[in-house]
Amino acid sequence: MSDLRNVSSSPHIRAKFTSSNIMLMVLIALLPASAFGVYNFGLKALLIIIISMATCVLTEYFYEYFMKKPITIGDYSAAVTGLLLALNLPSSVPLWIPVIGGIFAILVVKQVFGGLGQNFMNPALGARCFLLISFTGRMTNFTYDTVTGATPLAVLKSGESVNTWKMFLGTIQGTIGETSVVAIMIGAILLLAIGVINVTIPAYYILSFAVFIIMFGGKGFDIDFVLAHLCGGGLMLGAWFMATDYATSPITQKGRIVYGIILGILTGLFRLFGGSAEGVSYAIIFSNLLVPLIERVTLPTAFGKEKKKA
């Protein structure tokens, strides 16, 4: 027994993908939407993005430093939260808004509940809804080309028609990152291709939402109306980048289907019958709260046990 070698329990090999790789991929996938936001709304948007990300990363660092926990900013998850928060803000907000939002997202929604993977709702959306309730005026002041105006969804809600093509491209009012369906989809396809996200949640979300709009939108199968709803507001950003957040979505395939359908119905309810034109953020954080229940009723059946339970 001259040379004792490393031992460990099997398996002895590991896949290359790590948590920080995944977060980095999400950051990269959000680049097109972010770049388009800066192009659309000017350098102020870039400033908001930088402030929001810096706030989130620093909040996580200082919290962990003072709580004497291992510093986890290297896993990029705080940076992702910061970027998502910024993309959910209008470009007209004062610069202290992303600071407050970032601190709330990391401190209250994420760290207090145990940090990465333990948060009960999406930190960025939690912070957005907190800001919406606290600073409603500032958070719903949408400017585009220096003109303040209603978002296409608000226009749609008041019964007028909108330019769907512009909504698809993204040259409209809205929050920094939500306007361009094209830019969001480029990132989403990248994440799908490398297996970071799974198509289940967005697919069931978007489909069930479309069905809800057709059934209860009051316009029947009006393709322009349905498309406007699909391209409008935060649906695409929410469906592809926030509903798919690992920590706050169900872990099983069946659970993901149920979760997607609930999201679609809630978003439809909030948009058609709610007080505001937008409903994605509230639908997602509300569904986040339902995840433990969804998981309880969608427990998978172990291999070879199918017949026994039936």
């Binding site: 031992v7 398996p11 090999i13 896949a15 948590s19 099983t252 172990a302 291999f303």
Partner: protein
Amino acid sequence: MGAFTFKGGLHPYDGKDLSKDRPIKTVLPKGELIYPLSQHIGAPAVPVVAKGDRVLKGQKIAEAAGFVSANIHSSVSGTVKAIEPRLTVTGATINSIIIENDGEYEEIEYQKVKSLDQLSKDEIRNLIKEAGIVGMGGAGFPTHVKLMPKDDKAIDYVIANCAECEPYLTSDYRRMLEEPEKIVSGLKVILKLFDNAKGILAVEDNKPDCIEKLNQIVQKEDRIEVVSLKTKYPQGAERQLIYASTGRAINSSMLPADAGCVVNNVDTITAIYMAVCEGKPLMHRIVTVTGNAIKNPQNFLVATGTNYHELIDEAGGFTEEPAKIISGGPMMGFAIYDLDVPTTKTSSALLCLTNDDVAELAPSACINCGKCVEVCPGRIIPSRLADFAERHDEASFEKYDGMECCACGCCSFICPAKRQLTQSIKSMRLLVLANKKKK
């Protein structure tokens, strides 16, 4: 017929190119050979030789102690040097018979064999039992017990596990290429025991040359068929293999026989052929010595009891100091801290890697990504079960079907947070089983 695949699983780097084109080479053991008395599941065998005795190759040196146990035979001729505890691959120190090899390889006179048609079922089972054959894929369950299900007539399929889904392993592959007749003949022996059964040679489709070879041989056999399965780890896991080749699903509390199946590994079937058709006990097995730290990766025909050091030397030694040495494959094998251990009936490979992923990648918090759920062939939730295990929550562990884990290692492999999921679940499973036994 099955679906040729199963839900879950993954495709790790398979590393088979290192050794797949190296023909089987016989290694003549030097020095002392070590025969642990427990190389199988069940009661340890009882020595029938004493210190100082001269033994011949093929001579029984330890006898099965009970029904679930297995005989052990000497693979060389020489003198019994000692019977004392020695270190084995699992890290356990087990009472072993140590034989000093005299290099003569003088064999006992083997029993005359009858042709298969003249043998009765009981005679066949007895020959297999006498030969000390155990499941050589890794489990080491005594084969004669496996071949004695409650009802012979209820067995519909005898499956030869030719999947070899573990990365790096090429011993079954070489056996199929070089001695396919022995495998088919061995399968015919088992089929003789089960009148209603069909024989299936289940091969993964990354071995088209084996499939072709086997197909040529079984052309005339109306009871045997080659089934090509989709390549995916763990295709060779018993329950996944049965499902993929027959469409029948069993859970952890059932035996393959409950689904009308009997499954045996390639090397085991070859050993059955040797025992019944040539009258020779189990004394050799094929071991793949491979990994990026090995100079000349090879497939060796090794006498059981041979020291692992000798296998490394035969393969040209190390190119650089390995960070980790594994007995078996990288997904389910045992990491060994000392090379000074013997080859046993269940040693399928000796894998030497220059990097140790487990030591290099520190576990971090679970991000709930669900990748472990996607790859789990048992369709359970590894991340949650590992949580229960870490909290010693036995009730929840069982409620969430933790006992269904087959320890294939897929969850730990895929986990981006590098959590030791398999390890936690495996230990908890053993704990629950142990507690059940106490009651």
